[in-house]
Symmetry: C2
Subunit: 159 residues, 2 copies
């Protein structure tokens, strides 16, 4: 690896679109969710994931990995949400040391209340701004980016 391969103009355009768009979209959605439903984006996503699970529950670690958050951060947030009655901690059946976070009826209700506004905002700031071709390119390209980074976390350095 000799000298650095700097980004050319086209690559820089990509980078300078990706980073600010990420930050702005994240900020916008977080704010909208908080205002409209009192949930942070992280809390919303926790509910989404739990709700999507057939049993309505997931292990803490599983959740942390999916949400790309530290374990301790998740412990904290689940604690907050438990206080708020949105989730409930249960013990994992087959592993005494495991902990399940389970969505409550109240959690589902909060989700249903928050979802329409959230989806509308997602459309407004991202989905409806993109052409179908762009959406496909993003789904494919960033999907690959995502998968590689996730894979790296597990196997670590497949190269």
């Amino acid at each position: 690896m000799g000298h650095t391969r700097w980004l050319d103009d086209e690559e820089m355009r990509t980078w300078m679109a990706f980073i600010p768009a990420s930050n702005l979209v994240a900020r916008e959605l977080d704010q909208q969710l908080k205002e409209e439903s009192g949930l942070s984006h992280l809390q919303y996503e926790i509910l989404i994931h739990l709700n999507a699970a057939e049993t309505g529950a997931l292990r803490m670690t599983e959740l942390a990995e999916r949400l790309i958050n530290s374990k301790s951060g998740l412990t904290y947030q689940v604690g907050q949400m438990e206080k708020a009655g949105l989730v409930q901690r249960r013990q994992c059946e087959w592993s005494r040391s495991g902990v399940l976070a389970a969505i409550t009826d109240e959690g589902r209700a909060a989700l249903e209340r928050a979802a329409p506004g959230h989806v509308a905002k997602v459309r407004e700031v991202l989905i409806d701004v993109l052409t179908p071709e762009e959406r496909k390119a993003i789904a494919d390209g960033l999907g690959r980016v995502r998968d590689r980074l996730i894979a790296e976390k597990d196997g670590d350095t497949c190269w």
Copy 2:
């Protein structure tokens, strides 16, 4: 606005690629920068922006807007960086209440030290994973997303 227009499959794929990719890339870069140069991604970007300015200095608010961070957050970080000798506060010439953050020689040195590894990582996790077509779509599409959100902040509700 009758019922919610939920995301269809293709749109959901886009969304479920965008969010995790954003988070993972941000985390990866932040970590790499911290390890390799002791700078957080935010600090790195502050240096980049200051360095790009002809005078090597920018107003605090200007910087906060570009970096998509709260004013108070920027005050804090610039404080940290000032302690570390990477930047220096100066008074804005034409406005007694304005404050300029100026990059120092030490700051430039830190930037030069950090840049090669950072760019390499950006290539590794994002740029080189994408095809040229995908890069173009992302530059165009997310560029538009970015611009709309920035415009909204200024004029606010152009609709």
